[in-house]
């Protein structure tokens, strides 16, 4: 999966520079609401329910300040990602008990016919496993800068 392929799941409309939410559930709601404006996802309530349920199986706070809530739902007709940064950091029940500052919300259709969901999740994890990439992502101020970080991280 190339940088451009990864970036095709992102959009300036799904980029949040400075989450307002202060709690884990607030972050999930704020990020799901962004998807409500998307034509391919029109029932953010159903989506939020799925995302919350997935969190109950184990926090998607991977540690080192990154959380990647994700899942598949009947409410989605396309795979989409929301990227968000929290300046203050959020207690997300992360595995290392550190607050999370970088968030990716990934939603995929119930039937992942193109089998794009897990490879995409894998690419995002691969990027955020690098400290230099995490630092750059936390510092981005606009979507263009975010795209540059992804291109740099994935070698293009």
């Amino acid at each position: 999966m190339t940088a451009e392929e990864v970036l095709s799941y992102f959009s300036p409309d799904r980029f949040i520079n400075g989450l307002r939410a202060r709690s884990k559930d607030g972050v999930l709601s704020e990020m799901s609401r962004i998807l409500a404006e998307d034509d391919d996802i029109r029932d953010p309530g159903l989506l939020l329910e799925m995302i919350r349920r997935r969190e109950s199986l184990g926090s998607t706070g991977l540690g080192k300040g990154v959380a990647i809530p994700h899942g598949r739902s009947t409410a989605a007709t396309q795979t989409k990602v929301v990227f968000a940064v929290s300046r203050r950091g959020i207690d997300f029940d992360a595995m290392d008990n550190e607050v999370c500052r970088i968030f990716f919300l990934i939603v995929a259709p119930y039937e992942d016919n193109k089998q794009e969901y897990l490879p995409l999740l894998g690419k995002i994890v691969e990027m955020v496993n690098r400290e230099d990439v995490r630092e750059k992502m936390f510092a981005v101020e606009c979507f263009d800068e975010f795209q540059e970080v992804v291109r740099g991280a994935l070698g293009e």
């Binding site: 184990g58 409410a75 999740l121």
Partner: protein
């Protein structure tokens, strides 16, 4: 969005998650990426609870379709049923009241989840 159709969509999402947690390959893939996946029991409980909130006739429709297809509830996009990709007749509208039978696709019979 009809509450009855939404409940079935919820059930379908929940059953998908249960299958993912039960499937060793899918669980392993997530764990290899660093995520923890547990809690099958609580998912089963949530499923039991949800089923109690769904009218029996709707559940029978859902299970009947599930015997034939992986997905019983499908979204519609630009008047196309995303289960069988047939276009819906223009006479089909969003109007649906709780006393009506579930809205289903005339071609494949799946429950239509109006988008």
């Amino acid at each position: 969005m009809s509450d009855r159709v939404q409940k079935l969509a919820q059930l379908q999402d929940l059953e998908l998650m249960i299958r993912e947690v039960q499937d060793p390959a899918s669980k392993e893939q997530e764990e290899a990426l660093g995520f923890s996946v547990g809690g099958l029991e609580q998912l089963e409980k949530a499923r039991e609870k949800l089923i109690k909130q769904i009218p029996g006739q709707d559940l029978r429709v859902y299970w009947r379709i599930r015997r034939r297809y992986e997905r019983a509830v499908v979204p519609i996009l630009n008047r196309i049923c995303l289960g069988c990709f047939q276009e819906l007749p223009t006479s089909r509208t969003r109007a649906f009241t709780d006393s009506d039978p579930l809205p289903t696709c005339e071609s494949c019979g799946r429950v239509l989840y109006w988008l």
